[in-house]
């Protein structure tokens, strides 16, 4: 009991510390001072009166949302004496693996830089700045020569690293037993089984209404949809983050989604935020970074060719170029196992005073990175709002998909969860695919790394991402991947090569995610 109490006070202290530096704090203070003018505030009961005032005016709600946001994002220290690295990643071997992977990426970036004799960063001459400013809304028509640029890495390179991860403290033994894991990931992380997943995803059960199932044209809207929409509107009026997160587990109506996501992510567009975005835009105009070319190349290779997202090509540049200059993103490295790469001013290699983070936000884009932003363009058409939403989605969720960690939503756990689900509940299929040299993870990895963006139809993808927000976890990606394999199991059992298996799973655009998930979790005999 005492331990819990001291944990709680530690948590409270940390959150208060964090919020003290925020804009919200300044606003609350201002509001409190201003409220002294009000007749209902009396000196004798100052504290209670101000609290009451905050409650009525909605400021308490805003504070609640901010606290809730902090709780969702920041992992809590397991022990007050834990060093900061433990917050990033408690397991040493994972930290080491991430460190060496980062070294490789940076080396690759630097050598590309040297080969092409392009500086990592340079200031743009004034003429070029003017040109870029004019072209800001149509950077897609710019055709710089990108043929010499290659993406720094692709998901499959990352997969190879994960396959080779080993826990030096763990002895598998050479003999095969029923406990042997037949998949590619060979690290002993704890993942959930179906009964545990059913508990976690209880709102996806067969007796609960879902958008993505119970809103199809054959179902009369009076049964579920109308009421669900009404509740959604109520949640939005109340402006309660926690309620919104609970609500969205059953899916979000299309018309309410943009606002609900903003509420859950605690994004509100204040003038300061718009100003901040404009500042980033100015940084882009003034300086050219090597990563900009990587971003261009990525967009041209992926989103520009996508049936759903090609329309938003220019928005992608506007978001991603600004993102790479946003130093506020650096704060997420406190709980990300990754660390921002460091670069040194020319000629001062190794001297810490001349070290800078490169790119300024510490995130080096890889092939497919722009697909994290693309689906958001269906919801937000105002660039600074779009930017804020993407940034928050990244520092809450997406970063976990390309860094090595033991977190349950980290990509390593997701891979292991996927493979374990398949091996436990579809053993025949798993064994068959393994025998023909088509390890299932080789096919599903790219889906999970991209959070299925570019593989599912957009409306289905948004229903999936609703649940990611609702459960504050990426585990659903692994479950969906397994459910897809289960769905196409009959065809997969007949293939005899990796290429044929890829072909069976090449087109996911007709899949309906919610029925697949429901059947896999709640309707399959286990």
């Amino acid at each position: 009991m005492l331990q819990e109490e001291s944990d709680l006070s530690l948590i409270i202290a940390q959150i208060v510390q964090k919020l003290k530096g925020s804009n919200l704090y300044a606003q609350l203070e201002r509001q409190a001072w201003a409220s002294l003018q009000r007749p209902e505030i009396k000196l004798e009961s100052l504290k209670e009166d101000i609290k009451e005032f905050f409650k009525i005016s909605g400021w308490e709600k805003k504070l609640q949302n901010a606290v809730y946001s902090e709780l969702s994002v920041f992992p809590l220290p397991s022990h007050p004496a834990a060093p900061p690295e433990h917050l990033k990643e408690p397991l040493v071997y994972m930290r080491k693996a991430q460190g060496s992977w980062e070294k490789r990426i940076l080396k690759s970036l630097n050598s590309m830089c040297t080969e092409l004799s392009i500086p990592l960063a340079r200031k743009r001459p004034v003429g070029e700045q003017k040109e870029l400013l004019n072209k800001w809304n149509e950077m897609g028509t710019d055709e710089p020569d990108l043929s010499l640029f290659r993406p720094v890495y692709a998901p499959k390179d990352f997969l190879e690293v994960l396959i080779n991860l080993r826990n030096p403290n763990y002895e598998n033994g050479d003999s095969l037993s029923f406990r042997t894991h037949l998949g590619l990931i060979q690290v002993p992380l704890k993942v959930k089984d179906i009964p545990e997943l059913k508990e976690l995803f209880v709102e996806l059960g067969l007796t609960t209404g879902q958008l993505g199932i119970d809103d199809s044209t054959q179902v009369p809207p009076e049964l579920f949809e109308n009421e669900h929409v009404r509740i959604g509107q109520k949640v939005l009026t109340e402006q309660d983050s926690a309620a919104a997160q609970q609500y969205i587990r059953q899916g979000s109506p299309t018309a309410l989604r943009a606002e609900l996501w903003a509420l859950i992510l605690n994004i509100s567009s204040h003038p300061e935020d718009i100003l901040y975005y404009e500042q980033l835009k100015t940084n882009v105009i003034q300086h050219d970074l090597l990563v900009d070319s990587l971003i261009y190349k990525d967009v041209k290779l992926t989103a520009s060719n996508d049936d759903y997202y090609f329309v938003f090509e220019d928005y992608l540049y506007q978001v991603l170029l600004c993102f790479s200059r946003d130093t506020s993103v650096l704060s997420h490295f406190a709980y990300n196992s990754a660390s921002p790469p460091k670069s040194y001013i020319r000629g001062k290699l190794g001297l810490e005073e001349y070290a800078v983070f490169y790119p300024p936000n510490g995130v080096i884009p890889f092939h497919g990175f722009s697909m994290y932003v693309a689906p958001l363009c269906f919801l937000y058409h105002e660039p600074s709002k779009l930017y804020q939403i993407f940034r928050e989605m990244y520092v809450r969720f997406f970063f976990r998909l390309h860094s090595i960690s033991s977190h349950p939503s980290g990509i390593v756990s997701l891979c292991l969860l996927f493979e374990t689900l398949l091996q436990t509940y579809l053993p025949q299929l798993f064994y068959h695919l393994r025998e023909i040299g088509a390890q299932p993870l080789r096919i599903s990895f790219k889906w999970m790394v991209r959070a299925f963006s570019g593989y599912l139809a957009t409306d289905q993808l948004l229903l999936l991402w609703d649940r990611i927000l609702g459960y504050n976890s990426l585990e659903i990606l692994a479950v969906l991947a397994a459910a897809v394999f289960a769905f196409r199991a009959v065809n997969l059992m007949e293939v005899t090569s990796l290429a044929a298996a890829e072909a069976v799973l090449a087109d996911l655009s007709t899949l309906k995610v919610m029925p697949l998930l429901q059947i896999f979790l709640f309707a399959t005999v286990t």
């Binding site: 809304n137 055709e143 109506p253 018309a255 520009s304 090609f310 329309v311 269906f378 957009t458 948004l462």
Partner: protein, 423 residues
């Protein structure tokens, strides 16, 4: 009646031929006994012309109405719609209601249009009312964006003035006629780009009017960012969405072809603008299609050997109002991308299932009421018989799974001029 359907076509299009062959139909030439002829618009002219025409027998079907040009020629379409509006006004129909500024409340869906050179003076009067406006000149008889240009000064169209002394426009032959319409310079932009909608509508009979809308329409995007700036008036890549033009742009992409499905559009609009305004937009689109067909129905030669699949071009402005730009009698059957090919193949497939029931030798005397199951990706847009029948309401609601759902019943109500439920 055993025997395979004998087909002819004068258009070498794989989406057509594949569909005929998959039904086991037999290809013949036009001089032989044929049952089904998918013809180009030139050929239909010959079939029904006074000199070269011939009577079609009961087991012959063609894919155009004899005088389809009443709808598909830009000038005649506008003429018919104007006539239709005036008639409704004369009858005192609430459909023809106008607002304070004299604009039709429900029937204002075609941008102001004049024929040149016939209405030149009327046009000048209108032009002078708002001299900074842009107008679009379109040749009446051409397609694929050919011959279209934008003007913002009277001097640019001096040639069409009736008093013009230049000899180049002495001939008043219909081939040289142009229409000039107010250019919609505030189109709805997505990703900063202009787009238009291509929707396919199948008409099996005009009297009673029975038409079907293909659910899988698409949006055609311009490859270049839209700007109303006058310096770019000549840049056709900015303004004209025809694929025939866009395909030659530098940024044309052969994977998606600059096309979006209508369902993407719907998702985007619902997410960014809300469900009600989006539903209202789509209702309005269905409305204007039905009204345009009703406008030409009285003058259409409702030959029982005919059906027609039209390509409707619609532009949405930034106030989410749809405008009817034109109707094509021969929508392109060329495929620009793989998805396109699939779409057009399915379009022809579903069209044939409705027009030639059971794929058997047709009898043009049939009642043209296909069962629900063969509609495929078509939905009933408007069925005049049903709309006017007594038990129509109940029957329509039971059909709502296949037709347009709750919107359909509103649309039927509108047909009975109970507009309050619709608007």
């Amino acid at each position: 009646m055993a025997g395979k359907v004998k087909w002819v076509t004068d258009m070498e299009k794989s989406v057509l031929i594949n569909n005929f062959e998959k039904r086991g139909w037999v290809q013949v030439t036009e001089n032989e006994d044929w049952n089904f002829y998918w013809m180009s618009v030139q050929t239909i002219r010959n079939v029904f012309s006074v000199e070269t025409g011939y009577r079609l027998s009961d087991d012959q079907i063609v894919n155009h109405f004899p005088n389809h040009y009443e709808l598909t020629r830009k000038d005649l379409m506008v003429k018919n719609i104007k006539r239709y509006r005036k008639e409704l006004e004369k009858e005192g129909s609430p459909l023809a209601e106008k607002d304070e500024s004299g604009k039709y409340l429900y029937l204002d869906f075609v941008p102001i249009t004049y024929m040149l050179p016939a209405d030149y003076n009327l046009f000048v009067e209108e032009f002078r009312k708002s001299p900074s406006s842009t107008w679009i000149m379109k040749p009446c008889g051409k397609a694929q964006g050919k011959g279209i240009f934008l003007i913002n000064k009277l001097s640019q169209i001096k040639k069409w003035s009736r008093d013009s002394k230049t000899s180049s426009f002495v001939t008043q032959s219909t081939k040289e006629a142009y229409v000039i319409s107010l250019y919609i310079n505030n189109p709805l932009l997505i990703g900063g780009r202009k787009f238009d909608l291509r929707l396919y509508v199948l008409v099996s009979t005009y009297r009673p009017l029975r038409c079907y809308m293909y659910k899988l329409g698409f949006c055609r995007f311009c490859t270049v960012k839209y700007t109303p700036s006058t310096s770019e008036l000549d840049n056709m890549f900015v303004h004209l969405t025809n694929v025939a033009i866009q395909k030659h742009g530098e940024d044309y992409n052969h994977i998606h072809g600059g096309k979006w499905t209508v369902s993407n559009l719907r998702l985007y609009l619902e997410s960014t603008r809300g469900k009600e305004v989006t539903s209202r937009l789509f209702d309005e689109i269905h409305w204007i299609i039905v009204q345009s067909l009703k406008a030409v129905a009285p003058v259409m030669n409702n030959d029982k050997h005919c059906f027609e699949c039209y390509g409707y071009d619609i532009i949405i402005d930034d106030k989410l109002k749809p405008w009817l730009i034109e109707v094509n009698a021969s929508p392109s059957l060329t495929s620009s991308t793989a998805n396109d090919r699939i779409l057009k193949y399915n379009l022809i497939n579903d069209t044939l299932n409705i027009a030639v029931p059971n794929g058997e030798i047709p009898d043009c005397k049939w009642n043209k009421s296909p069962p629900k199951e063969v509609l495929g990706n078509y939905e009933i847009l408007y069925d005049e018989e049903l709309a006017q029948g007594d038990g129509a309401d109940r029957e329509l609601r039971s059909r709502s799974g296949q037709s347009l759902g709750p919107k359909a019943s509103r649309l039927r109500d509108a047909g009975r001029t109970v507009l309050t439920t619709w608007k």
